[in-house]
């Protein structure tokens, strides 16, 4: 079971919003005990999906939340837009697919930076990208959790 705590929601309507969103992601990753390198991977993935929103939909939102199950602690990032949608998701996730920016690295790149990555999309309705990154919880963290639950 995955428990997701309250999220931070950020409007994405300009490139400065992307800087803010990845800052939030990095801060939460640090609070959750991710390494500096993992925090940078998460921030980079948020940056990419934020750019994707701006490029294809013009505006949208990114929400960032804590996720947890018994053995793992993680961060969940959801990017939503009401843009044109993606006609061929498989193609959008394939290497070197030339999207609007002519580079086509965004989505497949973000996918490689995270542990889980999924896309829901409907033509004319919009796109939702959900991605998660996990880390193992150590014994002490699990113990603290149990005593909170029972205490």
């Amino acid at each position: 079971m995955i428990v997701v705590s309250d999220d931070v929601r950020l409007e994405i309507a300009a490139d400065t919003d992307i800087v803010e969103a990845r800052g939030e992601g990095r801060a939460l990753a640090a609070r959750l005990g991710f390494s500096r390198t993992d925090a940078t991977l998460i921030a980079t993935a948020i940056s990419e999906i934020g750019r994707n929103i701006l490029h294809h939909a013009g505006r949208g939102e990114v929400s960032i939340a804590e996720a947890a199950d018994d053995h793992l602690l993680g961060i969940e990032v959801v990017a939503r837009d009401r843009g044109p949608g993606i006609a061929d998701v498989e193609q959008a996730l394939s290497e070197g697919y030339a999207s609007g920016n002519g580079l086509g690295l965004g989505l497949p790149g973000a996918k490689r930076l995270m542990d889980e990555f999924s896309i829901e999309t409907e033509i004319g309705r919009g796109t939702t990208v959900t991605m998660r990154k996990w880390r193992e919880r150590d014994a002490l963290e699990r113990l603290g959790d149990r005593s909170r639950r029972h205490g």
Partner: protein
Amino acid sequence: MPVPILKQGSYLIASIQAALTDGEVLELRDDLADRIGRFRSRGIIIDVAALDVIDSFVARSLRTIARTAALRGAATVIVGIQPDVAVAMVQFRLNLEPLHTALDLEEALALLDRHKERA
């Protein structure tokens, strides 16, 4: 905020201070292209140590700047990519080629000097 550009001999040094907006990237490109002509510069060093994220937009921008500079007769070296940023770029498979990179300013200057001797 525009990126400050210093002139050091026949080289230009641009130190990016914070994440760049799209507009600032284009401004930097045009600024550098202009100054290469004005100062007859043979090399450009772009310091990205302050960037905590290099995503596909930033990578593409740096390549655009380097290609523009190359057409104006100057080589470009990127310096100061942070260790965690380097890891992310590898995992992302972001490629800075054909850009030259160096660890720091000193290495970049040495690289440009060798480049100039060969030319």
